[in-house]
Symmetry: C3
Subunit: 148 residues, 3 copies
Amino acid sequence: MCVHTATVAIATNGKGTYEITDEVAAAVSKSGVETGTVTVFVRHTSCSLIIMENADPTARRDLEKFFERLVPEDTPYFEHTAEGGDDSTSHIRSVITRSSEVIPIADGRMQLGTWQGIFLFEHRRAPHRRQIAISVMGEAIDTPLKIR
Amino acid sequence: MCVHTATVAIATNGKGTYEITDEVAAAVSKSGVETGTVTVFVRHTSCSLIIMENADPTARRDLEKFFERLVPEDTPYFEHTAEGGDDSTSHIRSVITRSSEVIPIADGRMQLGTWQGIFLFEHRRAPHRRQIAISVMGEAIDTPLKIR
Amino acid sequence: MCVHTATVAIATNGKGTYEITDEVAAAVSKSGVETGTVTVFVRHTSCSLIIMENADPTARRDLEKFFERLVPEDTPYFEHTAEGGDDSTSHIRSVITRSSEVIPIADGRMQLGTWQGIFLFEHRRAPHRRQIAISVMGEAIDTPLKIR
C-alpha cells in the first residue's frame, strides 16, 4: 500500500466548466497505483467539482444555464456581495455541487465510465488560478510487500 | 492494509431510487476489511448516488417529485435533448446529487446511521443496466503485518 | 500505511451551519497520518455536510436563506411530514448537499484552502445530537515500514 499526493493548478477564465480528467489521470499514472482510489479536492469555495458528460458541449451549456437561473446573481436578499454579484452565488453553487470526488482505480486506471469527465466548475467571472489537491492511495505495481 | 475493488451491476426500470446498501455491504464483508473506508462510484452521468432515509417510502417519493420540479423535462432553453426530454435533466440531476460516496468502516461494518440507505438515483425513463464501482480499503482482520 | 477511525458528536440547536473543522483537524492530528486522506461522514439523513467560506458570516446566512426558498417547508405536495414541516425538507436538503467529504492530507495537515471550513448543516428545527464518523488513512510519521 502507498499514498501519493499532488497539487495541480488550473487557470480559469470566467464562469464555466473546465475539464481536468487528464490532469487527474496523469497523477494516477505517475503514482504507480494499480488498485485503489484517487481523491480530487478543490481548495476553494467559489468553484467546485463535477463529474459530467464530456462528449457533447450542449450538455454542459444547459448545465451552466440551469445554474444561472437556480442561483441568480441579482437575488435581492443576498447580503454577501462585497466582491460582486457573483460572490454569494459562487459559494451556493459550490455547496450544491462538490468539493471532493473519489474515483476507484483498477488495473492502473480510474474507473470512469465511457462518457464521464471530471470538471472544475468555475463560478467566478474574473480569471482565477485554482488549486486542486489530489491523493492517490492503493497498491502499487512494484510494491515489495503484498499485504492483501 | 489492503484494497479490494468490485463492480456491481444494477438493473433500473425507469426513474426513481433503487437501494444498493446490501450490495455495498456484501463487498465490504467479502473484503475482510475491519477498519477503513468503502468508496462507491457510479460510472454514468445520467444516474447518481444519494444517501437517503430508507424506512418510509414517502420520503423518497417527495424527493423524486422535488427533482421533477427543480429540473423539469420541458425546460424550454435545454438544447441537449437528442435522447429525449430526460437527457439534459439527467445530467443536471446527477450534478446536484453525487457521483461518489465514501463511508467509513469500523468493526467490519459500514458506519451508516440507523435510517441511512445508499441508493442509485435513476434519472432516465428507459430501463438501464448501471455499473457501480466499489473500492474497499483498510486493515483486514487477518492482516499478517500491523503497520499501525 | 495505517487507518484510524473516530466518531465525533456535535450538538445542534436548530437549523443552521455549525463549523466542525477543528474536530476533524484534531482527529487528523491524533492519527499521526502525514500523507493520506480524511473521510468525514454524517450518520444522518436530516443534516448534511458542506465545505463553505468560513470568514464572513453573511455568506452562510445567504446560503441558509437560499435553502429555505429552494426547499420550502410549506411545499404543498410533500407527504412525508409526520415529524413536521421540516421533515421532507431535511432529507431533500441533505441530498442536494453532502453526506461524505474526503480531504487530502499532506505534511500532516488537511489540504483545506485559506477560506474553507467544514460545516455540519443542520436542517431540523429541534436540538439534536449528531454523529460524525471520521476515517483517517495514510502514512504515519513513525511508520516502521515505508512501502512507498
